[in-house]
Symmetry: C2
Subunit: 367 residues, 2 copies
């Protein structure tokens, strides 16, 4: 980020870098005193890339209370404290910019914000986690097992040592909650039905392939008549869709607006340069005073109601648990028609009790 | 557009509508006097959607000379007079906004402009014409002939009575020139090698299909070391690419930036609502003073050099003309290795002299 700031723009420059106490400074801009940053009135923007909930949450609140703007790439802290940050920012005159939290270098947050200037966003969906896309892509391309690909991804640094945030959908859940907040102006519930791809096997991919489908992990949301729903789940999508052909660790995200229809953004969802690019774009938007306010904090009287019924689909569940009497999809896998994402998650929980290898995916619509 | 302005924003309102002389006004905002619009100092923005070169060119220049901003959806006039409009606008303090000229409701022009704030754009490519995408999509889906699909598209109003602008690539050429100007800061030459899909047959699609490819009409450009090249041509792309799965009359466009890598935008490339959406977005950008200047007019000393060598590829030509001694791709079709887009266009011209049904497509790279 320092390099992109230095080389690519003269509208902002890096003044200070906060380091851990006791760390040996390699650059005269480094400091271990957060207070010295807060007290420096020449600093207008604080960039938070430390990750985790604390002390990131505390530092963001204090920066906003000092009248500074905050740019962050930390999806965990934003999805947890979005409302608080917006309230504090509005009170003290600062703004929070979060482009790097979702979709890396893809202008997804700004794209939603721009569409909303004249359009009502009625839904969104996307492949928002590069690691799981890379895992499925590699399983299909190389015919390898989930565990083998995951191990390779961990070696390459694509996946964390504890892969749960990626493969159980928690990373996508945070990104989906943030997207819903921006798209629908809602304080998003954290009761998001969330399933991952931990139990996805080569054989699952093969039988979905026989039906002209592949499996991708999606975050999606809909908003209708003052109600909304969000979910994170694997979807078995037809091969004729764009999403089926997202390679490697790329991300794709689509919003649906009333006048604009479908609008899709695709690119590098992670990585140093794309993430830094998103952070610097946010800094420039602040410099140009080009950013929206998030007004949902003030709209308690017309707050959206969480309504799981809005997200219904048919599902395929592969399980040896005696939970299904649906139509057979493939030996050992069944179609369950027209249930909500929340009911699907409950059904999967039930199945996992007697068959911990059970896997379930929504059936995406054919175009 | 009037409806979107009225219903979706209170930051701008429609003051006047210019109509043809003698037309019977149905709305009190209608006038047949362009002068009355120029003289009305309460009008800050003129929107030009009349199409064609004249009098659109004259009206845009006069509006800019009156210190007004201009928003236009007219790709023909912009691709022809871009430099003049920028010069006049800079002299009199107005700006020209052109989002609706390329890709309808897709934020492609603004996407390039935003990426350029911190990135060097080294290339772009896209399916920028919905009519030809619809023709190829329908030929494949329904197994119909080119002429039959074209007739149906004309009935539905997707294609013009004279289809040449679409099927010979002239529409894409204008959009490619505009994209190159925005992406590379260049006064784009009109010597763009341009081929269309007029001669594409079901049999061509079938044999490309046998090789795991489909055919789409692309506009593309590259920029490197002070040189640039652009071309419009059919490309036989691998089925594993996103572009191969663009349905109906949708558009897709990708920029490649040095730090951001590939960034792709997909959506409705035409139609009333998406185009109006793009126009109103431009009006709001003017209201928010959020737009770049096109500086290329001042950079004569460092103008980019047009260098056809930058766009090289292998090509497949299906012809009965005795112009090829390349490797056979399919009976009657040959691969010609590593020639420029300009050389390809010359080879096709030569072939068309003795076989007017000849068809040629670049071979897109496998990922």
């Amino acid at each position: 980020m320092a390099r992109i700031l230095d080389e690519c723009t003269d509208e902002a420059k890096l003044a200070r870098i906060l380091m851990r106490p006791g760390f040996n400074p390699k650059d005269r801009r480094m400091t271990d005193s957060f207070e010295s940053i807060l007290d420096d009135h020449s600093i207008e923007v604080v960039v938070e890339c430390m990750g985790g909930l604390e002390p990131a949450h505390e530092y963001i609140v204090r920066a906003l209370m000092s009248g500074k703007h905050v740019v962050t790439s930390n999806k965990a802290v934003v999805s947890t404290y979005f409302s608080e940050f917006v309230s504090v920012g509005e009170k003290y005159g600062g703004t929070l910019r979060i482009e790097a939290c979702v979709g890396g270098g893809i202008p997804w947050i700004a794209g939603i914000e721009k569409a909303k200037r004249i359009d009502a966003i009625i839904g969104f969906s996307g492949i928002l986690n590069g690691t799981t896309n890379y895992i499925v892509y590699s399983m299909l391309k190389d015919g390898t097992d989930f565990a083998e690909v995951l191990g390779k991804a961990q070696e390459l640094g694509y996946a964390e040592r504890d892969p749960s945030a990626d493969i159980d959908g928690l990373d996508v859940r945070a990104k989906t909650m943030i997207s819903a907040t921006v798209a629908f102006d809602v304080r998003c519930t954290d009761l998001v039905p969330t399933s991952g791809i931990r139990n996805l096997t080569r054989r699952d991919l093969a039988f979905f392939g026989n039906h002209g489908r592949t499996v991708k992990l999606f975050g999606h949301g809909v908003c209708k008549d003052g109600r909304y729903a969000v979910a994170v789940e694997p979807v078995a999508i037809p091969m004729e869709t764009l999403e089926a052909h997202v390679p490697l660790n790329f991300n794709i995200a689509t919003l649906t607006g009333k006048t604009i229809g479908e609008l899709t953004f695709y690119g590098q969802g992670a990585g140093g340069d794309p993430t830094a690019n998103a952070v610097v774009q946010d800094i420039l938007d602040i410099a140009h005073k080009n950013f929206p306010t998030y007004s949902f904090v003030h709209k308690d009287s017309q707050a959206l109601i969480y309504e799981p019924e809005l997200l219904r689909s048919s599902y395929v569940i592969r399980t040896e648990a005696p939970v299904c009497d649906g139509r057979v999809y493939e030996p050992g896998a069944y179609i369950v028609r027209d249930i909500t994402a929340l009911q699907a998650r409950e059904l999967l929980d039930e199945a996992l009790k007697s068959d911990p290898t059970s896997f379930m995916a929504a059936l995406g619509e054919r175009k």
